[in-house]
């Protein structure tokens, strides 16, 4: 599984990090890092994104 962050859309607000139940996401300075090993594929990050910058591939 992979969390794909579209950097052209993302405004690094950190909402996805706040809802991630497994700490798979991290807001670095101005980008989101995804740790695929921690991701449980729940797609909550995708749902909360204000601009639709996240895709979760199963």
């Amino acid at each position: 599984m992979t969390v794909l962050i579209n950097r052209n859309k993302c405004g690094y607000c950190g909402a996805c990090v706040a809802v991630c139940p497994t700490m798979a996401l991290d807001l670095k300075e101005v980008w989101i890092d995804a740790d695929e090993n921690l991701c449980n594929n729940c797609s909550t990050c995708k749902k909360v994104c204000p601009v639709g910058a996240i895709e979760v591939q199963r």
């Binding site: 405004g11 690094y12 607000c13 950190g14 909402a15 996805c16 990090v17 706040a18 809802v19 991630c20 139940p21 700490m23 991290d26 807001l27 670095k28 300075e29 101005v30 909550t44 749902k47 909360v48 994104c49 204000p50 601009v51 639709g52």
Partner: protein, 397 residues
């Protein structure tokens, strides 16, 4: 950077800066770290703040004020509007800030009080020894360093990790977060002393649209949607674009901001042995309005004072840190509980119900009513059923 401090504050926003300042003024050695190169940028905020107590934290200066505010208008889907004014022409109810300057001014205060400040410096984890906080793993310009501290204050915002590292679960449910988009617009027709709110599902499911003036013809125009109400094709940016097309067809967007705002109404525990969470990191944002700055300043102050007292006492136990939670509950806890009830009521309302409430008070004199508590008092005095639904006792009315 030294190898050890009494207190490390993670995050250089208003909560962190004020916490660092009060801890330093109380005699503690303090390190304040901010992961970004600069504080206050990029903003994730509508920049509105009530005047209440603000001068306690900073001298009021024009350089960080974009616009003084004297009134507010709430619009609902059927076009009904409710206008509120301070009444006195010279009385200011709040400010729209320039966060980039405001945040920096707060950090300068912390620095002047003796706190060491490092930007482009990230916390990557906590050092925990024998079940208690012993410091922070820090990364600065690619170099990693363990820095010892007896107290860590998590001021790391909506995306907070400090709490989770310390065993405090700050994870937000979709119904506990508003996410939004904001445009700084120019060339728009507004009253620069008046803020506008647009409520109801037509505008923003589970949230609202705001227009916060930042000077002549210029405003933050933004939207927040409840996370659980966001749908594909109905994201905050979709609703905002629809809104500005109607309200500001000739407006120009000169800046874009995105943001996430906790609306859980706090959390059960904002402390632990050697740890305190402040501002958005402690989910202390107002769950109805989404306003976070005031509570960030208050919680930062209380945590900073508690930290300094703990250092003096040499006591970093959970029991000592509980003083912070107690102080917060006394100061901001009631507002969080009240506004959580109101939020839960609001997000369940249909647009027809929103219209009806607005209609019932349309045209009333709302001079001097620029505060949630006052408005709710009026609404519930008109509609006794509403009072019952909300639960008068819980509201503290």
């Amino acid at each position: 950077m030294k190898d050890a401090y009494d207190v490390i504050v993670v995050g250089g926003g208003p909560a962190g800066a004020v916490a660092a300042r009060y801890a330093a003024e109380g005699g503690a050695s303090v390190l304040l770290i901010e992961k970004r190169q600069e504080v206050g940028d990029s903003i994730r905020c509508a920049e509105g703040v009530p005047v209440e107590n603000l001068d306690k934290y900073l001298d009021i200066e024009d350089r960080w004020i974009a616009a003084p505010i004297k009134g507010a208008t709430i619009y609902v889907p059927d076009g009904t509007s409710v206008k509120m004014r301070t009444g006195d022409e010279n009385q200011i109810s709040g400010y729209i800030l320039e966060r980039k300057i405001f945040d920096r001014a707060l950090v300068e205060k912390a620095a002047k009080a003796g706190a060491e400040v490092y930007t482009k410096t990230t916390a990557t984890g906590l050092i925990i020894e024998n079940g208690r906080i012993a410091g922070v793993k820090i990364k600065r310009l690619g170099m990693e360093k363990d820095v010892a501290a007896n107290i860590v204050i998590g001021a790391d915002g909506v995306e907070s990790k400090v709490g989770r590292w310390a065993g405090l679960d700050t994870t937000l449910k979709l119904s506990d977060i508003e996410t939004g988009v904001q445009y700084l617009m120019t060339n728009i027709d507004i009253d620069e002393e008046n803020i506008e709110f647009y409520m109801g599902n037509q505008y923003a499911p589970g949230g609202y649209v705001w227009v916060f003036p930042k000077g002549p013809g210029r405003a933050n125009v933004g939207i927040g949607l409840l996370g659980s109400k966001i749908k594909e094709g109905g994201r905050p940016i979709d609703y905002l674009d629809k809104f500005i097309e109607n309200r500001f067809p000739n407006g120009k967007i000169i800046e874009m901001n995105y943001g996430g705002v906790p609306v859980s109404g706090g959390m059960e525990k904002i402390y632990g042995a050697g740890i305190m969470l402040v501002g958005d990191a402690g989910r202390l944002t107002d769950p109805l309005t989404g306003g976070g700055i005031k509570h960030a300043l208050w919680s930062g102050e209380l945590a900073g004072i508690t930290a300094a007292e703990a250092v003096k006492a040499g006591d970093f136990t959970e029991k000592f840190m509980k003083k912070y939670q107690k102080a917060w509950d006394d100061k901001g806890g009631k507002i969080l509980s009240r506004d959580l009830i109101l939020k839960n009521y609001y997000i369940g309302m249909t647009d027809e119900e929103v219209n009806k409430i607005a209609k019932s008070i349309e045209g009333m004199d709302f001079t001097g009513v620029l505060e949630v508590g006052k408005l709710v008092k009026i609404l519930t005095s008109i509609d006794k059923k509403l009072l019952l639904k909300l639960g008068a006792n819980q509201l503290g009315l």
